[in-house]
Structures are given as C-alpha cells and as structure tokens.
C-alpha cells in the first residue's frame, strides 16, 4: 500500500516540489499550507509521516509538533527548515529527524525512506 506523507509548508513552491518528488518515489502526498490546516488534515486523513516546516505564520511548526505528539504519539515527523540553528533545540527532542532545506533533495528522500521502512 502507498504511504501517505503530509507536507506542511507555507511556501507554495516548496509544497509543489516536495509533492512531485515524493509522488515519484511512490508516496501519496497531502498538502497543508499552515499549521491549522495541517491539524485538520491529520484529523481527516490517515497519515504515515509528516514533513514539517518550522517557521510559518500563525500556528508554527513547533506548535504543530507538540500537538502531533499529544494526539498521534507514534506518527513520525521530519522537521524541515531553512534554519540550521534550531537543530540543538528541537532535533533530539520529539521529531524523528531534522533536515536543513536544500535544493538537493537526496538527504530528505533518503531520510523519509528510512523512517518509513523502519516503521514496517
């Protein structure tokens, strides 16, 4: 069965890019443009993994991460952000991985694959 990945990012370009790449890797992709929308999607769809941007207007990634860990304890989350700075603060805390955004998507794809495989 196809794995369903939720991509949460306020930048449209990033959402589209991740969607296309991940679909090519055989995932089903759901998109959310804000933290609020992400929670909605999590309530309605069954998601296997979340790709989460940290810096978003309104409800930010950290808040989303906290909610996710309360409600969907075993759902893996990859923090995916433009800032390497947060790594120490959030990296080991609750997310499965922390990735600094890059136009080279290999690290991201590999990490997603690893996490999904381990879950099986």
């Amino acid at each position: 069965m196809k794995k369903r990945v939720l991509v949460v990012d306020d930048e449209e370009g990033i959402r589209l890019l991740y969607k296309e790449e991940l679909e090519e890797e055989g995932c089903e992709v759901t998109l959310a443009a804000s933290g609020e929308e992400a929670i909605e999607k999590l309530e309605s769809d069954s998601i296997d993994l979340v790709l989460l941007d940290i810096k978003m207007p309104g409800m930010d990634g950290v808040e989303v991460l906290r909610k996710v860990k309360e409600k969907w304890k075993d759902l893996p989350v990859i923090l995916c952000t433009a800032y390497p700075h947060y790594k120490n603060e959030f990296g080991t805390w609750a997310s499965e991985a922390y990735i600094v955004k890059s136009s080279d998507l290999r690290e991201l794809i590999d990490t997603i694959k690893n996490i999904l495989e381990m879950k099986q």
Binding site: G13, L17, A82, P84, H85, N88, K101, S103, D104
Partner: protein, 398 residues
C-alpha cells in the same frame, strides 16, 4: 662658563630635533666644554637589564656597547644609585680596580651620573678622560643639572613611545570593533537570509533538478539546466557559510582519530576531485592520531582548506594530504599545486570577508582558524608563489 653651557644644553633639549639627536648634541657639548675626552649616554633597557649605548661623542677608545647591571662603573652606579667618580691611581683608586671596567682602558679618570628619577632608571651619563681630572664643585653641580635635563629627555622619549603603542592599540581595538559590528549585523541578517533566500532557492534548484530528469539526455537544454542546478547549489553553499559563521556553537570535545576525520572529509569531496581531475596523494601516519576534538567542527575546518585547494586547481592538479606526529603535536599537511597565493595578500587571507574569488564569501579560512584556535591548535601557511600552498594544522595529541 656655567650658565653658558646650561643655556646651550637647554636649547638642544628643547629643539625640534629627534630626541636621540638632541642627546647626541649634548654629549658633543660636554666633551668640548669639560675636561673629558669621551662622553657616552646609555639607555637602561629594563627587559634585558642592560645599559645600552644610546649616543656618544669624543674618543672612540674603550667604547662599550652595553653594560650588564653588575658590570663596570655603570653597574656599580646602578647598585649604589649614586654619582661616582674614579681615578687611576688616586684616593679612589680602589674603586677603579674594583670595577674592572674594560671601557676604562687607556683612561685615567671617569665619572658616572645616573639618569633616573624616583620611579625608574632611564640610563646614565658616562664621562672619561685620558688625564687626571679634578672637577670643581661648580662643575659637579652643573653636570648634575645637565643630567636632570637628560632625564626629562628620556622621559619624553619614553612617553612618545607609549603614546605610539597606545595609538596602535586603539587602531587594533577599532578594527576589531568594526569587525564585531559586522558580525552582529551579519547575525541578524543571516536569519532573514536563511528564510527569505533559502526557500526560493530550494524550489528554484529543486525544479531545475526535476527538469533535468525530464529532458532527453542529449538535449541541448541540458547545459542550461546544469548551470541552474549548479549555481543554486553554490548560492546555498554561501548561505551555509554565513550561517555557520554566525552560529558559533559550543564545541563538544571527544577523543577522535585525525586520520579518520580527514578520510571522511576527503571522501566527501571525491566526486569533485574526479570532476576537476585532481589526484589525491595520501600519506597518513600508520597508527591512529588521537586528539581531543569536536569532530563536526574539525571536519568543517578541513573542508574549507580542501575546498580552497580545489578552487585553486580547477583545471587539474595534485593534493597531498599527510598526517604525522611531532613531539606532542598531531600534524596535518595539505599541499596543493594550484599556483599559490600572491605575496601581497598573504597577510589578509585569514581576515573575514577577504576573498579574491568572484563568488567567495571570504569566510572559509577565518572559520577554519577560529575552529583550530578553539582546539588550542595552530595553523600555518607555507606559500610557494607560482607553485602552491601548504596549510599545516597542528593539534595537541590526546
């Protein structure tokens, strides 16, 4: 004659001449106007504990360049802190022999005036005569006053030197301040940079890479797309450098093998070496080279050095990487043959933002040096203009 001499001494000491030339004039005057054949003014060097010849006039006979604090008549004066007179032979003939001053050979009389105030020694005035001399009380008084004038000259010199030093220090502080300011601004900017520029770059480069997948391998558009992909990667690299620079994370030290870190750094660049036709010559120490280090940071340090070497040999070359032990140090030498650094830049290369490259940020070596310093190590450059550069990194062995 007394006031006459004094007036002239004051004229000299108040003139616009350099301070040492003023004292030279005074020495000349003393030889001329007093029954002495030689006059020398010594300066006290407090670091080396020596009286060093500053200026002299008259006979060159028995001229001694320096006196230790226990040597000769000057040494004795330093010990007793007094004005001394010595004659050969005479009532104070014992003093003459006692001092064993090699500068007294060929003379029959001498006297020394300490040049000092309550706080410190500045030097001394040393007068010698080939004949026996008896100074009148008036002459003695005069020499004392002249000595005082010389002291104020020395003080002047001393102060102008400390002023100069203070000036350099202020300049240094100023340049460091402006650098610190730059860093603060940079730190604030980098947050904006990261978000506002990295995100668009990710989609730009990401989509370019997707385009690359879609077009035929023999399409002429491949060249364009390659440019897009590579240029974006380069921009990202610049952002990474700037962020890394402002990040300033605490180092986490652990026992690590330097050979191992270097191998990892080299492996990281293996594709790039191939692309630029760069041959790697490894000369690693056989046994592991253990150091206490932050692996991540050290890797960044070596990555920067390797990146520079590659950039200097983009049309091919040889990079020699060797490690060795040198007493308590672990040493890494990275030698390229990319033509070296222009000598006029050699003192600038570790400065932040100094670059000769079109797309450099000029932070690479600064970051590297900071990291090595944090590890209490050192980094040296051996530049062979026209050939290449060797960067040597030394770290304490664990």
């Amino acid at each position: 004659m007394g006031y006459d001499i004094l007036t002239r001494v004051i004229e000299f000491t108040e003139s616009d001449l350099a301070i040492d030339s003023r004292m030279g004039k005074v020495a000349g005057l003393l030889v001329k106007e007093f029954p002495f054949d030689s006059c020398a003014i010594y300066a006290w060097d407090d670091k080396e504990k020596l009286f060093k010849l500053n200026v002299a006039a008259g006979s060159r006979k028995g001229r001694v360049e320096s006196y230790g604090q226990n040597q000769g008549l000057p040494g004795l004066a330093r010990k007793t802190k007094k004005h001394l007179e010595a004659y050969k032979p005479g009532p104070e003939g014992i003093l003459w022999q006692e001092t064993e001053d090699r500068g007294l050979k060929g003379f029959k009389g001498a006297c020394v005036y300490p040049l000092k105030d309550r706080q410190r020694w500045y030097g001394l005035l040393y007068l010698k005569s080939a004949k026996k001399v008896e100074l009148s009380p008036g002459e003695k008084k005069l020499l004392e006053v002249i000595s005082r004038l010389l002291v104020s000259n020395f003080k002047c010199k001393h102060h102008s030197q400390s002023l100069k030093k203070a000036g350099t220090k202020i300049k240094d502080i100023h340049s460091r301040l402006t650098q610190a300011e730059k860093l603060i601004v940079l730190g604030e900017l980098s947050a904006t940079f990261a978000h506002e520029i990295r995100n668009p770059l990710v989609s730009l480069g990401g989509f370019a890479a997707r385009l690359k997948k879609k077009i035929e391998p023999d399409s002429p558009f491949n060249v364009y797309v390659d440019y897009m992909v590579n240029e974006v990667r380069r921009l990202e690299q610049i952002i990474n450098n700037i962020l890394r620079y402002t990040e300033q994370k605490e180092a986490v030290f652990e026992g690590t093998d330097l050979n191992n870190i270097l191998s990892e750094s080299l492996a990281f660049f293996s594709e790039v070496f191939k692309k630029h036709d760069i041959e790697i010559v490894e000369g690693f120490a056989r046994k592991p080279l253990r150091v206490m280090a932050d692996r991540h940071q050290l890797k960044i340090a070596f990555d920067n050095l390797i990146a520079n070497a590659i950039q200097s040999m983009e049309k091919g070359g040889k990079l020699t990487v060797s490690t060795s032990r040198e007493k308590s140090w672990a040493v890494v030498d990275l030698t390229d043959n990319g033509g070296g650094i222009e000598p006029r830049y050699i003192n600038n290369i570790f400065e932040p933002f100094f670059t000769t490259k079109k797309y450099g940020t000029g932070l690479g070596l600064d970051i590297t040096k900071r990291i090595i310093t944090k590890h209490k190590g050192r980094i040296d450059v051996d530049n062979k203009m026209g050939q290449g550069v060797t960067f040597s990194v030394k770290l304490r062995r664990a």
